[in-house]
Symmetry: D2
């Protein structure tokens, strides 16, 4: 079989482990030809192919990024994009296509599937908000990087007398904020799932610092928003709520907290460091299992599915069940974050 392979959307650590697994298992066990496309869906539309053999995936297991490159581009969103993609797939005689990506890439995959292409998706996103799977590739590494950063900020916060805001990724769901907040021992965690009340934050910080504490750590997801009706006094130029801009919410909170409490407040925006570098063991294992499961599914003729992890098991889920849904942080995890503040 000739099997296509692409990585789409933002890059995350672990993509190369998944590519490696598809190639090793696909070529070595099943005898398939694996045809990579460069820069996600863009490579499919442009016919930018990169045949992959075992030589190409040597030494990539512990590396971040993606050897195929990636882009935020969706064929169905541009004129003639879908047609061009289908034409390439036919010209390259691709019998099935494995798409590694988040929300957007998997959505595009289901559009292409509707047009008759056999597709298997592999979920990746540091935001961990892909539906129907306990975890997506990249999330564990991002949490581990964010936690390490909070650990570092902890020691410096203790030595001075400060409120330290750490802004992490998470547009629609606060997975990184909540889990790294728990792991890093944050005093406050602000996630999109629970719009925050700035007046309560003010009271909490004043009370805490009056009581005994000399510092507080606030972890905020970039997509966190104030509760309706709560007033944020100060307007900053950095960005508006609604359109999520890296650093915007962190900066706004800093200004509000300083104005309201008088405490020296600093903000650190973790930004791109969260999606780079060496994947954790957990991400490499997840990616390897997903890669094997995807190529095995293709071989068995089971397509239009996404690989998912459920407990200790890798399962296949219909792509149609996944598209357009967001997996939010469950209530019990939010409770743990609050309980341990």
């Amino acid at each position: 079989m000739r099997v296509g392979l692409l990585t789409g959307g933002g890059d995350v650590p672990g993509l190369n482990a998944a590519i490696r697994a598809v190639v090793k298992r696909g070529e070595g066990e099943h005898g398939h030809s694996i045809i990579g496309f460069r820069n996600g869906w863009k490579g499919v539309v442009d016919g930018d192919v990169m045949p992959l053999s075992r030589r190409d995936i040597r030494n990539v297991l512990p590396t971040g990024g993606t050897l195929l490159g990636t882009a935020r581009y969706h064929p169905h969103a541009s004129d003639g994009g879908l047609e061009a993609a289908l034409a390439t797939l036919e010209a390259e005689r691709i019998e099935a296509l494995i798409c590694i990506g988040g929300d957007g890439t998997l959505n595009a995959a289901s559009k292409v599937a509707e047009a008759g292409v056999k597709v298997v998706g592999i979920p990746k996103t540091i935001d961990n908000d892909v539906w129907a799977t306990d975890a997506s590739i990249g999330f564990d590494t991002a949490v581990s990087i964010a936690t390490e950063a909070i650990d570092r900020i902890h020691t410096t916060a203790e030595s001075h007398n400060r409120v330290m805001i750490v802004e992490v990724m998470g547009r629609h769901a606060g997975w990184i904020a909540v889990t790294s907040g728990i792991a890093g021992g944050a005093e406050l965690v602000l996630a999109p799932e629970e719009p925050f009340d700035i007046t309560r934050i003010e009271k909490f910080l004043k009370h805490r610092h009056r009581a005994h504490a000399s510092f507080s750590i606030v972890v905020v997801a970039e997509g966190a928003v104030p509760a309706e009706g709560t007033s944020m006094h100060y307007e900053t130029q950095v960005g508006k709520f609604g359109e999520i801009v890296a650093g915007a919410i962190g900066e706004r909170l800093k200004v509000e907290i300083e104005q309201r409490t008088g405490f020296d407040t600093r903000v650190t925006v973790l930004g791109h460091t969260q999606r780079g570098g060496i994947p954790t063991a957990a991400d490499r294992i997840l990616a390897s299992r997903f890669g094997v499961a995807a190529i095995d599914a293709v071989t068995a003729g089971t397509t239009n599915v996404m690989t998912a992890i459920r407990g200790e098991e890798v399962v296949l889920v219909p792509l149609s069940q996944v598209a357009g849904k967001v997996k939010y942080v469950p209530q019990d995890l939010l409770t743990v974050a609050r309980a341990l503040a």
Copy 2:
């Protein structure tokens, strides 16, 4: 309520995160008194108590080890041990006891429960072989340490021309070996679940090195055993199979492989480094969730259970279902390890 708390068996990273969660939630939310026992069951038998308040758990979240100390000691295994333990619990007016431990500690917990004490268990073991839970505290950190070691050995193996054996922990089940073998890209993984055939290993290595490779990495669990009927020529003094001694199987394999293939072979025994140091974010989160769930269970009157993680959820499992069982590495994970070799 007066709630007892102990950590038993070998120490693992994440114990302090669990202790912290029990104390923060127990004292802060429920108003309980948390009474720690030093050195596991030994402290219960000896009446060695250490009352825990929020002051005691400051800054312990990212630390390895256990602030309560631990010991490999089981009250029911020594004369009068169980009686002494029960006497202490009564004297200290302990209304429920939270036991953080592996197989042995949880087994002791179920004996104590049979004697009428209200008990909640929290599973911890780097071996990950506790029944009924996807993961136990310490496993993720151990895998991440083993993977990092394999990564390091990889670069040095490539530069020379060698077979590198890495011996990891895992007496009854090969979880660390299989997962770190996948994450580290090992050529061979030997786990207790699948007794190995030394003749096939010899053939595999000879074939691989003849074909193209200049090195091979073999990850072996300390509890791995040769298949019945296979002959291991060489006797070493380091230990015998059956009684598992750190370094024994690694050394035996080294000698066999060198004798049979003539390849320069080196063995690294990871040993105690696997259970030390800073817990990963994943272990801190798991431990925090388990700690909260355990004290909430105690408060709700649900006892004689163990906290367990199943997918994204923390659940409670009857202790009686757990005791005496070993959770082995499932077939599909062994397949992934083989597929990616």
Copy 3:
């Protein structure tokens, strides 16, 4: 002897290792009493003392921050500050004072020394700009954190098609920028030592991306400035040159580069993560050596000096030679950074 001890200025990793060395050696070997002052010079002025014994320094070796607390406060800069400091030192019968700090703290130390107090300084600063010593406590850790961040950003930059700006600390001297730029393989390094020409940067990036590259990494010290006469078109609100504000130069460069080249450009400000967390082995060793040398100097009666590392040796340098000077990055290191771009 009664020996005072303080840590002043911004906190850095390794301070606790130095404190530990002073206490262990001072109490254990020389039989001194070590009297800590909380929050740097502020604690001296306020009489906020914290006697230190071996119990207090247990387990602090691998921790970041400072167990004594710190503050950016200089007694001679506030009315009556110096007098209050001297009064405390007399009331506490301090025979000599060990001051761990950067530029500002050491400057204050030399003022206090002029007033007759016996002082020994220990240099610490992540900026590495203290005169007369090859290295100061905290620098190695900061470089290692910045390098790790650049490594991470590298993988994500390669996968997309971007200019990535990394802003690191360094107000007057570009040590972190230059060394982490070399270690991280940056394409451009901008340090205060060499005002930059934005037009040349524009040309370099255009040429590089036209030729072959799909990404560029620019490391910039927060204190970097444009060369006189070069025109930066765009004014941002984030800050002005001259008063150094975290994030200001990074943001300005981003805007200029995007405007001039059209390349997608992202900026990451490492901020407080650079001064937090676990000290590297090199920083712990340096801090331990400095602590031992400082208390040995005090004991031998050699005061009004600073400990310094020169090659493999720890030496003592007159405080008066150090104050008010800035150690800049030498030309040959700037050349290496350029040569390897």
Copy 4:
């Protein structure tokens, strides 16, 4: 110019950074052709060449190992070896040869230099015992790995009640043992520089554990030896003193200490993990500086020298001054290790 390049002896992290610097600077700035030899001197003897261009050194900066391969082989030690080496160098029209290696490789370099070849050496060894330079490539990374391992063992030692022995590399000099012992807070450090007295160790441990401590960490260099006249009771099969075998001294100490004190004693042999993995920032910077300095020296016609770091400066030292000398740990560093135990 046609410039040869080889890496010899054991591999260490940072070799690729040095190779990269030689190629980037040599090809880019000076217009030289860089001709690599595979597997150290062996490649020179066998004529196994690998021309290096900028494409070959992409992405290698943060990687361990050596892309040229290495071997422990010295041309002058085998019949006709030197002649074959010279013949290759002539056939390949090599005008100068850069040799990256330790003691043995640099010694071979000086033999080849005596035969008329222009040679520049770059020192690398995790043992840090090359004469005339403050540091050699690989040492900083090895110390950082050993320190991290000691940190891990610390937490597990504290939780139980044990003597933990950590055996590190260091055949002739105890640099890793002494520095990682200081950084890791070891109670005892045993280095080849100071033969140890087992009876004093026994007394020290008994006294310490009687007084208060529940654990002790002993760091021992593989080349440590007992003082003459001291009796080690127990003979092990693992190895004899004199011929240094990994694990031998650790095992012997374990047996002696257990016999003499009755304390539960465990040994961890760090082995090959010490020379693998990602080079620290400090090693990458050192290697980059050495690489640039070496190719600049070649270009300037300064040969038969070794690059060396002295304080903040890279200097050139005659090869003849280096060969055959061992740089031992200086007394003041041994004192710090003892003082902080």
